[in-house]
Homo-oligomer: 465 residues x 2
């Protein structure tokens, strides 16, 4: 259905049909305002993507989990009628280190107590510092200057004594931020931890951010949101990468916004919500050009690197051996592994993450070689039954033109304290959404929802003025 | 003169008519190949810009200095018939610290010998480490991982004991990189120092990078280069921001390159040289999309911040007082000051730099307030005669849409070791130039020239294959 000519002028235009953009559009529409979403891809969901297996079963090949405290995501699932099911967490997990395997229950393997104490004190310190970082304004933390002057690698070197504890922390960094500790400002780590609650909240399965999945795959949420928006008239335009935004300047008084996108006529609106990660928002041309502070910020929020890899088996054979399918491997390259079997219990799916350095290095390999390296890790962890998956699926999120990295944009040292104020501050009629702009569960789907709600409220408030 | 239809197909297209792009184009042309340069602005020169004073005298409001060891720039000036003259360096310089002024000669003020020794040992250590960083591949330095895991701020905290020495080093960082020490990887600092020679080479006037200026202003060089290129036929197209580059993929076999730019028909070429800072190159759309490694790099080379400010007086009155016009002020906001009087000796010009944090903060002020703050610094440094300049000129380089910061892109921790290989590596028919890609005097005009020569040689070599 082609939009009518009249439709080309709306109250609010949204750039990006990821979760943040769709939530913003839903809220705009619920307030009785007209809205249109322009999406670069031929699909909605952004970093959230379902993958259909040959059997017809669905697995998540993008963002997938929700956990306790993510109240907006719980409410969204309920509102859209998408049920959740627990991430498979029965049986023993596996830690591979120094060529040997250790089976354990819960989140903490029974390794050397000195190492365990070392990790525990580090997490305790991190959590304690994190609570002192205001999530709305990390640069106002009492020790913001000091914490933003160093990398997380420097902090680890200074405060974690044992090599195995450092290895495990480094692996946690890859699992949460998809980069290396030296790329992160300590202040950013603390902000991110506080926005989630605690370090354990980030890395945990049961009771943590990886606790639950959505039946039918997480992309059901953006798909249903888009379908509801489209029910009345075509509000979500696919295949429309926005290249240029003409607006009425920082003062915000005047004719509003015109969005020029490939694949169709410009869209005119009174306000626009750019629901993209800052790095991608910075690649749009703006007329007039954006204020320096905003542009400089967009140069400084790079994305982590993830290749999400799944091997498909007839059944989850590891469960027969009393294994949960969860594993941590210091050797890698798949260092963090989950059982990602669909809720019906078959086929069996092992999910391995290549993150940070591994994703960058193996992402450049031929696909067959990368697959072999991932499957080889699974064989080491779960035995020879893992050697011949009947199918394999992967996405290198850094290679995706309209994402360019996962899980989220992050801050190197010095960025929060110098450029943080430009993260959410509107520029005239332009508002900024995306999980990077969230203060609760930033980097997660929950943060995307919060950011979409906040940006929509800003735009609606401006429309009322 | 409009280009003929035939001209739209050339051997090499160059994006950007800064010094790197123009040098590349000159070299392509000298090899007997056809070339076209597409420039976003209505002028050439990029970060190099002359400013005409009401008197008709010319001052440089962008990159301006050359120093010993910059052999390509010396040769370029000679080739183009642009003479140099020494930066005014007669008389005493001024150091402002803690509200008091100290006059001194040479580069080193007569402050507390403990502080002087502290600075000297720091520079010595930096120079010694820098020599161990291969400028072609900083990630191959023996201690690259360690040096790239920390900020320069962390290194200063660990190795510089006195507060005044730290203040002066911080000020040097702003003067050289236009950012704060916490934003820089130690490895990047060492690379940059090695590419210039030594720390003193970077910060010095006589004998250093600020030794000489060009008669008529440094923009004479790009202006003459462009004029020579245009003499035969129109080779430099102004007002043509390139938005999209269609190319034949990483394999490089096929139809070459098509550059789509505002303001005219596409330009077709066999090879293209993108002579932009990486952050700006990353804002162009590429079809096919670039490999992940290259795209991720462009997310990670942010620009420093500079507002270059000049106050114009009837004459250089400070010279009468035995002052050189050079000053360093810990208080700021103009922390680094030069006499930028044209070679004819009048009008008198005081040049003050707002750099890093100062540029960001004062850049957001109303122009009048910023001017007052700069002039107030000059009054404190040079007396009441500085209070009423007859003219004032400034450029906030971060606000320039087609530059977005100065002096150059830099690397935060973790970037060189993880993404460095993508800095110069061609992607199919696409070559990368710009001073950020240089190995000698990166960040300087000399580096721009080296990069243009190297990229041209790459393209010419590919054309011969």
């Amino acid at each position: 259905m082609a939009p009518s000519a009249l439709d080309d002028r709306v109250d609010v235009a949204v750039v990006g049909a990821g979760l943040a953009g769709l939530i913003a559009a839903e809220r705009i529409r619920a307030a009785g305002r007209s809205v249109r979403v322009l999406e670069a891809r031929e699909r909605v969901g952004g970093r959230i993507l379902n993958h259909v297996l040959p059997s017809g079963a669905i697995v998540e090949i993008g963002g997938q989990w929700i956990g306790p405290g993510q109240r907006r995501m719980v409410a969204l699932g309920q509102r859209l009628g998408v049920a959740t099911h627990p991430t498979h967490d029965e049986g023993e997990s596996v830690l591979e280190r120094g060529g040997s395997l250790l089976r354990y229950r819960g989140t903490i393997p029974r390794i050397n107590p000195v190492v365990l104490a070392d990790i525990a004190q580090a997490q305790l310190r991190i959590d304690r510092m994190a609570r002192r970082v205001p999530v709305e304004a990390p640069w106002r933390a009492p020790r913001a200057a000091e914490w933003d002057a160093q990398t997380f690698a420097t902090w680890i070197d200074d405060h974690v004594r044992t090599r195995p504890a450092r290895d495990l922390l480094r692996l946690s960094v890859a699992a949460v931020w998809a980069c290396e500790p030296q790329e992160l400002s300590l202040l950013h780590v603390l902000f991110y931890v506080h926005a989630a609650g605690s370090f354990d909240d980030l890395i945990g399965t049961r009771g943590g951010a990886q606790q639950d999945r959505f039946v039918g795959g997480s992309q059901e949420l953006p798909l249903r949101l888009a379908a509801q928006l489209d029910a009345a008239e075509l509000r979500v335009l696919l295949g429309r990468p926005v290249r240029r935004i003409v607006h009425d300047g920082p003062s915000g008084a005047g004719g509003g916004v015109t969005l020029e996108a490939d694949g169709g006529a410009p869209v005119h609106a009174r306000r626009a919500i750019v629901a993209l990660a800052p790095a991608l928002a910075g690649r749009i041309a703006y007329a007039p050009a954006l204020p320096a502070a905003r542009d400089l910020l967009t140069q400084r929020v790079p994305h982590g690197s993830v290749v999400k890899c799944m091997a498909i088996y007839d059944e989850p054979f590891w469960r027969r051996d009393g294994l949960s399918g969860q594993a941590v491997s210091i050797e890698g390259p798949a260092r963090v592994v989950f059982d990602n079997t669909p809720p019906q219990g078959a086929p069996g799916v092992l999910l391995g993450f290549l993150e940070g350095r591994d994703a960058r290095e193996l992402g450049a390999w031929p696909a067959e070689r990368r697959r072999a390296a991932v499957v080889e890790t699974f064989v080491r962890l779960f035995g020879p039954d893992a050697a011949a998956p009947r199918d394999y699926a992967e996405v290198d999120w850094s290679a995706e033109e309209f994402t360019r990295g996962c899980y989220a944009g992050y801050m190197a040292p010095g960025v929060w304290t110098a450029f943080g104020t430009a993260l959410r501050e509107p520029v005239g009629p332009l508002h900024w959404a995306g999980t990077e702009t969230a203060t609760e569960w930033t980097g997660y789907m929950e943060g995307a929802v919060q950011s979409g709600e906040r940006a929509a409220d800003e735009a609606l408030s401006a429309l009322r003025d």
